[in-house]
Symmetry: none
Subunit: 194 residues, 4 copies
């Protein structure tokens, strides 16, 4: 699904692109989202022009990076579908997965949030896909009767982003994230689940 944009890259370019993505991932893991593009280029041992050719701006690099991680999320999706006892817990597990996904890099939730309002961003597409999946899980849970009718997938996705955003602050108290996730779960669950 990812990287099907346009024609296939030349072999060397693809290799280079992959290498850049690898390095960028490590770089962002260490420096957070605010790490400089030039720094990433230097780390990868390429000129800034090369980085720019592959990823004309920060967001497209981010989108590619997230696309590369999508495989993991897809596998998680399968696991959730296969193993969840019911649609309600499936939705819950999916939201937890989103929270973790958006917390991959320090500061990642911010551009994701921005992409939710600016449709032109390459990240917007990524988010839209996840909103759709959330919608799907939610719809099943609603059909099952375990989720309230007046909630939308977009809202839950945003709430997951927000929860992830809090992650940085919650480092000292890691329980907070779990607590908030619980809060939200109780919010959308129509039947208060003890």
């Amino acid at each position: 699904m990812a990287g099907t944009t346009g024609r296939a890259l030349r072999a060397d370019a693809q290799r280079n692109r992959d290498h850049i993505l690898d390095v960028a991932e490590a770089y962002l893991l260490e420096h957070g989202i605010t790490g400089t593009l030039d720094g990433i280029a230097k780390s990868a041992g390429v000129g800034p022009g090369t980085l720019y050719r592959h990823f004309p701006n920060r967001e497209s690099l981010l989108a590619a990076l997230l696309d590369a991680r999508q495989g993991a999320l897809d596998r998680r999706l399968d696991t959730i579908r296969a193993q969840s006892a019911n649609a309600g817990s499936a939705l819950q597990e999916w939201l937890v997965a989103v929270v973790e996904w958006a917390g991959a890099f320090e500061g990642l939730p911010e551009p994701l949030r921005a992409a939710m309002s600016v449709q032109t961003s390459p990240l917007a597409l990524t988010c839209q896909g996840y909103v759709k999946i959330t919608d799907m899980f939610l719809a099943e849970a609603q059909r099952e009767g375990s989720a309230r009718e007046d909630v939308r997938g977009r809202d839950l996705f945003l709430a997951a982003l927000a929860t992830s955003w809090m992650g940085g602050a919650a480092l000292a108290e890691p329980d907070s994230t779990k607590t908030i996730i619980e809060l939200i779960r109780k919010g959308w669950a129509s039947t208060p689940q003890r």
Copy 2:
């Protein structure tokens, strides 16, 4: 309460400080928190050195600004206490007030969140005060039986910040904020309130 920097300021310095705060507020309202300190200094007609003397960094300026706004929040506090039918709705109204407060300037939630994990920030004090108030409202609600026991004020305050943070993304769909606030309310309310 504000400016408890030990000794009292000389009258002219105090006037200068107040002037800077007034101007800074207007400036941040227009430009958001990312507005430059130089820009604020210039707007106030002082040199950057003067700004720096009063507020050694961006966060302390922000903290002072929020302190200055505290009067309004205090009045709101009184209103809530006087008019709320019960402790549960008082907590809810307080959280809504926090959401609005943190949304005063575009981008404000971010440094507030950061202050929650870095205790050295001048904003940390401000936040701690609010967490305490939240704790108080929460305790009353718990005594009343309208709030779950396994929730802490800190978590609710963070959740309010996160909700405010989503505000930017929710511009296109203003309902989202309300929805999320509801989600969270349903989360901490022990008795599901229809």
Copy 3:
């Protein structure tokens, strides 16, 4: 006359080259000489390497472009020869033609001037041809007695380039160009022509 690069090009290469020239002409008309080579290549639908193969640098592209336009100038040459009442007015008309020719693209006079001092430029050849023609017209005018003896074709050609160069500045006051052309004409004309 154009493309005297020794051996003949393969048919497809020639077609390609011609296509590039066509596109480059349109591109430079719109963007001026400072337009990027990459932009030209992209417009022509070829890679930069292909462009580079045909024209190893900006100047050789320019020279080829001007060569392609030479046909028009040649026709003008014929007209001037056929219709001019005398050698003096022929020289004048030729110089006006040079001014217009050098003004074909925004910024063209600059590399032409540079080519006049750096003989290694491919444009130098082009210029030398025009200087020779100017010399010829001048010599006839001098024989006729309508041009001063102490003037050289090179100087007049340079003066024409300079006049064209002023064109940009003269946009607001288009009369300037005409005025300067007149100034120069009065300068080389031995008999002051009222």
Copy 4:
């Protein structure tokens, strides 16, 4: 006359500014107008921000540089006025002075020409002053009967710029400049001066 813009600079700033101008002059003499601003800053031993504070763009630096040289031109002005036999030769000498002035740095005529059409440039003011002086000399010459009536100072100034512009090309043949100056002189002189 120069540098009376606004209030006086602090002593240290003035010293720094003068130093930058000195260095910039040497730098441009060596590298021509296209020398990089960062390079100038580095040569002067200041950060790019300092350079930017004094001269927010290339043109304002250029204008300041030319202002600094204005003293010399003013002195030349006095000399011309004092020693010229008549208004005609005064005009001529002034134009020669302008040609030399505009040839101070390789490439200087280009931005000067641009400034003639874009009034917003800091260089535009400089040029306007010179046009006025040219107008003055021209008017006197016209009153004297030694200059044609249908010529304007602006045109002569532009012609001087253009002559200076040719300078680079004329390096190989320095006579060219003189010849062109002569051409133009003969152009505006109403009585053909042998």
